[in-house]
Amino acid sequence: MAAAPHTVDDLAGADAARSGWLHVVARFVRQRPLGAVGAALIVLICVVGAGAAWIAPYDPLANDYGSMLAAPSAAHWLGTDAFGRDVLSRIIYGARTALTVGVGASCIGATLGSLIGLSSAYFGGRIDLLTQRVMDVFFAFPVIILALAVVAILGTGAGNVILAIATPMVPRCARVVRSSALSVREMPYVDAARASGFGHGRIILRHMLPNVMAPILIMATAFLGEAILLEASLSFLGLGVQEPTAAWGLMLRGAAVEFAETAPWMAIFPGLAISLAVFGFNLFGDSLRDALDPRLRTQ
């Protein structure tokens, strides 16, 4: 691939202004084909999730006891499960659950984490030290164990799962944002803002936050994939989203394990959906990081 020239005019977005957003998309596809594949997958999942009601051939909750454990056919493209529910329809509606939980957890985790990281860096001194120690404590827990503990406290269900997944993400985001914010705090414009008598909140949100947006965005996309995976794991354990809601991890549980040999479609397709979704977010996040981190650019 030809080295991408990062010229002044491309920085100023003059390119984009010249030939519109199509040109921007074309350039992204050319320069970062992997990222483009990821973005395409993300768009696909969002479209499927949003339009589930129109796309899905069947009601994801409708039992059809006449065709239980039916193999993939023209009527049921990906077969049916032990209750005669259409697997494809459940996967399509499952995209909704995955996106809701993923986006919700990632937003909450990144927002709280960023605020903690920014304030920790901004105030410094004892507050910083104390925050760091508390974050260290959270770091010593494996992610899934922290999530399981939160689920045990709050109970199962989509809303609680979002909080359970967001919890372990907060300290990790806080650490990354803090380290970026430490250098931002020393910038003259922060001094200037302080000299102008702005309040702490305003300096943190209006002056520092925009300058650490790049790492936050990278973290948030990485979290999204991870959150979808974590939701699937929790649901698989029976501690996440509950039946009869359509969720990918839930579909891999119970009957899918029991009838894995005779009805493998139940075990294969939902897992494939999880993998593709997480793959899309990770691919996109990876390219985003490469694009935003100047040290890793092609020379």
Binding site: I144, I153, P264, A267, G271
Partner: protein
């Protein structure tokens, strides 16, 4: 160096104390306790209040929180982890065999992850932005995206369909029958190792890219040194440290965090024990388990830092 080691070891104490307080409180916030869980399991939740209070008193659950915590800490100071509230067996006994399993699995998975990550990461960095780079990244990111519990069930399914054979379902310790043991643990190790190689590969690629742009690499190249020699002698040595950090940190988490994979392969490891302990509200067991995992995590981090100073003479600790 001695002073630094002492300082680091001392710094672990407040963190571990924090972990202890956090898990102690989290457990008490979870609705229900071991007495209720036991009666629920026996199918008779309507026990007389006195009987339940009596049971609670046996575990010291009627004491004020600070007293319970102090008792636990006092026991720890005497290296006494107490007994499981659910089985009444000593906790060290409950954890011992499962720890052996989890440790072996974590070691095997980390080895597989490093064996994949280091060469793949170097390859991707050297061939940056070619199809080789893309192929490596797709391979590793796919690993990160695939739930290892799903990959695990597919592996079992494939073996069942193709070879009419499933891995043994009962754990045999390595020292009893190594062949039997490896037959069982190789598959989960492969599924988990593949997943975790992605993080290492990504780190290897980016540190290698950075190092390859250093002046001394250019100098080495300019004086006509073999490309291979430059890579292994000059670049790898400087690029590998962060990779080792990432892989060892992952290792510490593999020890207690393989909850779902253990479920699929029917492995009775620490992860499974944790899930059981939570559902039984077995406070003493969970507390010991979490403290064990946290201590391992801190110890690994500590060892990595010491190793840094030992490998890299530029680093001085005070």
């Amino acid at each position: 160096m001695g002073a630094y080691i002492a300082k680091r070891l001392l710094a672990m104490i407040p963190t571990l104390l924090g972990v202890a307080v956090l898990i102690f409180l989290l457990l008490r916030v979870i609705p229900g306790d071991v007495v209720e869980a036991r009666y629920l399991a026996q199918g008779s939740q309507f026990q007389s209040q006195e009987l339940m209070d009596q049971e609670r008193a046996k575990f010291g659950l009627d004491q004020p929180l600070w007293k319970q915590f102090a008792d636990w800490m006092g026991g720890l100071a005497r290296l006494d982890f107490g007994v499981s509230m659910w089985t009444d067996g000593p906790i060290t006994q409950e954890i011992k065999l499962r720890f052996a399993l989890s440790l072996q699995l974590a070691l095997m998975a980390s080895t597989i992850a490093s064996c994949l990550a280091i060469p793949l990461g170097i390859l991707a960095a050297v061939k940056q932005d070619t199809w080789v780079d893309y192929a490596v990244r797709v391979f590793t990111i796919a690993g990160l995206a695939t739930p290892s519990f799903w990959l695990g069930s597919l592996m079992i399914l494939a073996m069942l369909v193709v070879f009419k054979w499933v891995p043994p379902m009962v754990f045999t310790p390595l020292w009893v029958d190594p062949w039997q043991n490896l037959q069982q643990l190789a598959w989960p190790a492969l599924a988990v190792g593949y997943r975790y190689c992605a993080v290492g590969t990504r780190m290897m690629r980016s540190t290698m890219l950075e190092v390859l742009r250093e002046d001394y690499i250019r100098t080495a190249r300019a004086k006509g040194l073999w490309a291979k020699l430059i890579l292994t002698r000059h670049a790898l040595k400087n690029a590998i440290l962060p990779v080792l950090t990432v892989i060892s940190t992952e290792f510490a988490f593999l020890l207690g965090g393989l909850v779902v994979t253990e479920q699929v392969f029917n492995l009775n490891g620490l992860g499974m024990l944790f899930v059981e302990g939570i559902s039984h509200r077995d406070y003493t067991l969970i507390q010991a388990l979490v403290l064990l995992v946290a201590t391992t995590f801190l110890a690994v981090n500590f060892l990595v830092d010491i190793a840094y100073a030992w490998i890299d003479p530029r680093i001085h600790y005070r």
